[in-house]
Amino acid sequence: MMNFDYVRPASVADAIAAGSEKGASYLASGTNLLDLMKGGVSRPSRLVDVTRLPGLDRIEHLADGSLRIGALVRNADLAHDAEFARNYPAVAEALLSGASAQLRNAATVGGNLMQRTRCAYFYDAGSACNRRWPGAGCDALKGENRLHAVLGWSEGCIATHPSDFCVPLVALDAIVEIEGKGGRRELPLEALHRLPGETPERETALERGDLIVALRLPSEAQGFARHARYIKVRERTSYAFAVVSAAAALRIVDGKIREARLALGGVAAKPWRAREAEQVLAGAAPDAAAYREAARAALAGAKPSGDNAFKIELAQRILVRALTLAAAGTPDRIPALPGSPFSSVAGA
């Protein structure tokens, strides 16, 4: 791979200064970035290693009842934190459904949010890709695209965001804390990833030098703990990205759905919050008819971007399944096959 500078700043301020320079890229555990560098897809001239930055590897309970997760907390550590798993079971299940044990041990919260699409044409330096090379065209559009987006895509890019973690997070209104040249700001996670539109190369709302320092789950997020699931259909039982996935979280009061939170993964360039479907469910009885109507509403705007019409049907069925299982109650323990349909029945 090309020669590059490697710096390991001692403070967030130094990191931002280094990360703001042209050609710089933050390096967390590198499970995504190093692959991209080896493939010649990313060619940063400077790596700013953030993994030793102080204070970003903590899980903190804030006074207002929200939870703050440092950007350097490892995916596995977060998922295996017993209190976290109890309060945010769908998030823990999503984390554990992703990648492999080895990758989860390394991967960080910030890196997971910022991981790039798995579109094969994006990874193949020989293909045209608007994300890699604005204006080059999109070889996925008429190519092998059975796993590409069905929601929010444009002719410019039909890629999906691959993160499992982000799907329940966006359902639970997670907030991203960012430090940048202009100081600290925050953003709903829902606004972090952008739909491609005319500018697919602008994947997120981060500006040059922006560093994600933490993720926050608001206090209400815990209110869904008793009825929350993440279900992921994939092409093997483990260690595969989602074909389609769904997070469902419910607050059920007196046998009626008081509030529903729904999001889909593997369908769009961002974790897809299904607000129309949530509205359908608000106040409804938790039954199959309501779930089906909600699922239809969630996919009402979907259209195939290629050989992937089946994902529209599959997404609806996964939503129905996730809702059914969430309503049945969160299992006491995260299932042995997290997120798998085969472990979904009564949390077996």
């Binding site: 791979m1 090309m2 020669n3 010649g40 492999s100 798995r118 094969a120 044409y121 193949d124 330096a125 020989g126 293909s127 070889d139 008429k142 190519g143 092998e144 059975r146 279900i231 259909v233 994939r234 092409e235 093997r236 039982t237 483990s238 260690y239 595969a240 074909v243 089946f310 049907e313 599959l314 069925r317 996964i318 129905v320 399944r321 096959l337 798998s340 349909p341 085969f342 029945v345 009564a346 077996a348």
Partner: protein
């Protein structure tokens, strides 16, 4: 340069009496789990530098420019090997000296014949510098439209398929068979391109010393490799010393030396220093062979009783634009089912890929999944249980040749595996079974078969003055356990306890053991060892029985047996003499003898020789989401004499997992416009992970086969794939009622089929 390996000889490995049949653990196991087993790329001779291949990203056309200057400017880069700057070769790499000399790209021109083809090699002091140098070459191309897939061009009848098999075989009257059919199933299946993906990528460390060449490289066929390299570089084969003690898997891709390995040798020659070249994972998707995609139409006719009237199996396969290898997919229909009329035929299409080659069960795997699925369709059409249907059409003699089988315990395989699985009571109709959680459950069966093949191999046996023995053979351990199983045969052949034996292998300086392929290595080399051992024991016996001072005097050669380092008179066991004493009295430091193993042509002309098996699979399918999971696999196999049950079980497990992979996971995805492979990595090229592998049961059924070879060995390396793939696919049908004819079975077919 044979290295002495510290192979395990601890008490667990020492036993008296016969070693064959014992479940010994691997003698190289400790070396492997402690990281001391030295694979090719682990070598680092003094002065060694690194070579990295620059590969083409187009599938067809020419390289019009390479920025050699930019690569050379990069710090650490020593040289850039290109068509314009490379060592002369003595032989055209496109010459076709023999059918096994497959054409390779050694920078002989600027032509690009497939994606991932080598277009230059950068040599540098470090791997990083060579890698970046290769990137800096930024090739420019004149691109031609790539020919991709089974419909890329005009199909033609290949001259032969596999290794010299006729492209079309007819047995009986096909038209009459069709006419006699009360029911005729007619279906077309597709199987995808697959790539070997051994854990260890192809690697070579090459050192020239004048016109002698020393190489460390994983090889399943050192003798073949020597010949090819000798031809290319114009040196005698004996000048080439190949060291290949361990392979991290080969599966056929290391059977013949590949272009990239030869490029490493050329790079070392070009700069006059030792060179290491290791392929990146993505670079293995092109120059080292693959299993080509197939489209197979199969028609099966049955009469009123469910007896077969005809099997007509046609396959279309792809081969490269520049060479000929034809996956003999339809040949799978030759041996298994008793049909009065059988036709198999192949046609081929040229595409812009590397040349397809042998990949674990080449032809058998692609053909078996289709044949077993089609047999399942025929059974279903007749309303007969698929196991009963197979028994009804059981071949008592090989259908296409009429030859009796040298041995065939397939009936016992069906019975034992069916019983273990609990097949009885399976509903005939699909979509009848659910588990307690509501998942659809399906059961499927497939028959496994693989020919008992032998190549030509040699061994040398020595009994030393101290009474201990040595067996030498340039065999290949691909992970299957040759170090152990062949040593077991060696100890028995020499009448020695296991700890009294030095077993040398894995080097071309030892007697040529032939190719480790076709599941024939243990049979071939085992026979060579057996014969070498017998020959050296005969020499010892000759010494003893003709010496008046020996207690064995006068016993005659046939009158002694070798056991635990002594010869005993057959008629009087108490009269015996130790090997050391015999040699001491004769004043000899050692006696040695060679032996060879090869197929017995006379027996082959009389008998059909195959291993067989029966595999039963259970799958569960999510009734709405369509996700499939195999939950049980039971296989019973009859494969002649079992040398080491532990190794055999591992081979069969591994094969059955490949079968599962074939049915549900594995596929190289190719862009239909560019001909580039889009998932040339282990994240996206799916093979089963642990969570996909169900509990498995392997049963071996005893088979005494006096005809295949002196030890009665058939192969076990490939048969596990056959039968298993079809069993899984049939179980999916039984669970869902959906017959997917495009492998691997994809979720959309099930999701949309279930709605």
């Amino acid at each position: 340069m044979t290295v002495e390996l510290s192979l395990t000889r601890d008490p667990a490995h020492i036993r008296h009496g016969s070693n064959i049949g014992q479940p010994m653990t691997r003698t190289d196991g400790v070396l492997k789990v402690t990281g001391k087993a030295r694979y090719a790329a682990d070598n680092h001779p003094p002065g060694m530098v690194y070579a990295v291949i620059a590969t083409s990203c187009i599938a067809r056309g020419r390289v019009t420019a390479l920025d050699v200057a930019a690569a050379r400017r990069h710090p650490g880069v020593i040289d850039v090997m290109t068509p314009a700057h490379k060592p002369e070769l003595a032989e055209d790499p496109d010459a076709k000296g023999n059918p096994f000399a497959f054409r390779m790209e050694l920078l002989q021109s600027d032509e690009v014949r497939y994606a991932n083809q080598a277009v230059a090699v950068v040599i540098a002091e470090t791997l990083e510098a060579a890698t970046e140098g290769a990137a800096l070459l930024s090739p420019r191309y004149q691109v031609e439209i790539a020919r991709v897939g089974l419909d890329a061009g005009e199909a033609y009848a290949p001259p032969v398929v596999g290794i010299g098999n006729p492209a079309e075989v007819r047995h009986g009257d096909i038209d009459a068979g069709m006419a006699a059919a009360a029911k005729l199933t007619d279906s077309t299946y597709q199987t995808p391109a697959q790539y070997h993906n051994a854990m260890e990528p192809h690697a070579i460390v090459a050192v020239w010393d004048g016109d002698r060449l020393f190489i460390d490289t994983p090889s399943q066929g050192m003798g073949f490799a020597q010949m090819r390299i000798a031809g290319l570089f114009g040196i005698p084969p004996a000048n080439i010393h190949i060291n290949s003690p361990f392979l991290g898997g080969g599966f056929g891709s290391k059977g013949l030396i590949s272009g990239p390995q030869v490029l490493g040798i050329m790079a070392a020659k070009l700069i006059g220093r030792p060179v290491k070249l290791v392929l990146r994972r993505s670079q293995m998707y092109g120059p080292v062979g693959h299993r080509p995609p197939t489209r197979q139409r199969i028609r099966i006719g049955t009469d009123e009783s469910g007896a077969l009237t005809v099997i007509n199996h046609e396959a279309r396969v792809t081969t490269s634009s520049f060479d000929d290898f034809y996956e003999p997919a339809a040949d799978a229909s030759h041996t298994l089912y008793a049909s009065p009329a059988i036709r198999t035929a192949h046609e081929a299409v040229r595409v812009d890929t590397g040349t397809p080659l042998f990949m674990r069960a080449p032809g058998e795997a692609t053909g078996s999944i289709v044949l077993e699925s089609a047999i399942d369709e025929a059974a279903f059409a007749c309303g007969i249980d698929p196991l009963e249907f197979r028994l009804k059409n059981y071949a008592e003699v090989e259908p296409t040749t009429g030859k009796p089988f040298s041995s065939k315990a397939l009936r016992q395989c069906y019975a034992k595996a069916a019983e273990r699985f609990g097949w009885a009571g399976r509903p005939l109709q699909p979509k009848q079974m659910r588990d307690e959680n509501g998942f659809l459950v399906g059961w499927g069966v497939g028959t496994a078969t693989f020919p008992a093949i032998m190549f030509q191999g040699n061994a040398r046996a020595v009994i030393r003055a101290d009474g201990k023995g040595v067996m030498e053979t340039g065999a290949h351990d691909m992970g299957q356990g040759a170090w152990t199983a062949l040593a077991q045969i060696s100890a028995d052949s020499l009448g020695l306890d296991f700890d009294q034996l030095t077993f040398r292998s894995g080097s071309s300086d030892l007697p040529d053991a032939g190719i480790a392929g076709g599941s024939g290595h243990t049979a071939t080399v085992g026979a060579a060892i057996h014969n070498a051992g017998a020959a050296v024991i005969a020499k010892l016996a000759e010494l003893a029985t003709s010496d008046q001072r020996s207690p064995l005097f006068g016993a005659g050669n046939a009158g002694v047996v070798a056991r635990a380092g002594r010869l005993h008179r057959r008629d009087d066991d108490a009269r015996s003499e130790g090997y050391a004493d015999i040699l001491a009295r004769a004043g000899l430091a050692e006696v040695d003898a060679t032996g060879s193993g090869a197929a017995d042509a006379a027996a082959q002309s009389q008998y059909a020789m195959h291993a067989h098996g029966a595999v039963f699979a259970e799958v569960k399918v999510d009734p709405e989401l369509g996700q499939i999971r195999a939950t049980r696999l039971v296989g019973a196999f009859a494969a002649g004499r079992i040398i080491n049950p532990l190794m055999v079980q591992s081979q069969l497990y591994g094969g059955m997992i490949w079968g599962l992979s074939f049915a549900l996971h594995e596929e190289a995805v190719m862009d239909h416009r560019s001909g580039r492979i889009l998932n040339a990595n282990l994240a996206e090229y799916h093979v089963p992970v642990n969570a996909d592998v169900p509990p498995m049961d392997v049963i071996t059924v005893d088979e005494h086969d006096p005809h295949v070879n002196p030890l009665g060995i058939k192969g076990v390396g490939e048969i596990g794939i056959t039968g298993s793939a079809g069993a899984v696919a049939n179980a999916v049908f039984h669970a869902t009622g959906i017959r997917v004819r495009n492998f691997p079975i994809k979720i959309e077919e099930i999701v949309m089929g279930l709605s």
